[in-house]
């Protein structure tokens, strides 16, 4: 049963990623990205990371996807990928290069042996993740607030119209 779930979710994830790569229209790409992020959230659930699955849906499929769709609506792109391609050779070359990269990763992952036997999966609810975040990783957790503040200020500075 869990294998069936995994393979269905994996097929959905790879299919939606392929849709993102192949469709010309960026709004289709954004919708494929939402599907992909949702399947990743479901894969988190199968790994018993319930908190991350919820955060994934809220932050990625909610906020970031809305941001992308909003940017697409503001900019109305779509004519970038028509016309002659100035870097056609490099783009064609990138496909075999990525194939080699994937083969290298497959060799490394296939030959690696993880030490020790598989451990029983740990629960990834909000209590377990919160305990780690607020004890061992308290300082990095606080630093993320500075990072987000810097991002907010930076976005305001970048998009402000000169009066």
């Amino acid at each position: 049963m869990s294998f069936v779930t995994f393979f269905v979710l994996a097929a959905l994830a790879v299919g939606s990623a392929a849709g993102l790569l192949l469709r010309r229209n960026p709004i289709h790409g954004a919708l494929f990205l939402v599907v992909n992020l949702g399947t990743i959230a479901a894969l988190f659930l199968t790994l018993r990371a319930e908190f991350l699955a919820a955060v994934q849906v809220i932050v990625y499929a909610g906020a970031i996807a809305v941001l992308f769709v909003f940017a697409i609506m503001v900019l109305i792109p779509g004519k970038e990928e028509t016309g002659p391609d100035p870097l056609r050779g490099q783009r064609l070359l990138s496909v075999p290069v990525v194939g080699v990269f994937l083969a290298l990763v497959a060799v490394v992952v296939g030959s690696a042996t993880l030490s020790g036997g598989p451990k029983p999966p740990v629960a990834g609810g909000a209590d377990a993740v919160g305990r780690v975040l607020f004890t061992d990783y308290l300082f990095p957790f606080e630093v993320t607030s500075v990072l987000l503040l810097a991002a907010i200020v930076g976005v305001m500075a970048l998009t402000k119209r000169k009066a």
Partner: protein
């Protein structure tokens, strides 16, 4: 229980597709979405490895990756909007002003 290596393999495939998207697409918005794809693939591998080792620390790391991704998308889209205001075009191949 599905072995963790399956998740790592799926993560590798998704990451490669993200790399391919960055390399072959010309629209900066789609390139950004491909970067999100790569970040998510890395997150999946982190959670799988964390479960393999029986700790929640991998999930804490994923939490930080999500924070950085949110900040990165906000700043990146602001930069794209600023470029679009100046040039009225959105192809990454035309943005070669910094070339020496």
């Amino acid at each position: 229980m599905v072995p963790e290596s399956y998740y790592v393999a799926l993560s590798a495939v998704l990451f490669s597709m993200g790399v391919l998207g960055v390399l072959i697409r010309r629209n900066p918005l789609v390139i950004f979405m491909s970067i999100e794809l790569m970040l998510n693939a890395a997150n999946l591998a982190l959670v799988a490895f964390g479960q393999r080792h029986g700790t929640t620390e991998g999930q804490a790391l994923v939490f930080f990756v999500m924070c950085v991704a949110a900040a990165e998308v906000a700043v990146g889209l602001a930069i794209i909007v600023a470029i679009f205001r100046q040039r009225r075009r959105l192809s990454v191949d035309e943005l070669s002003t910094l070339r020496g």
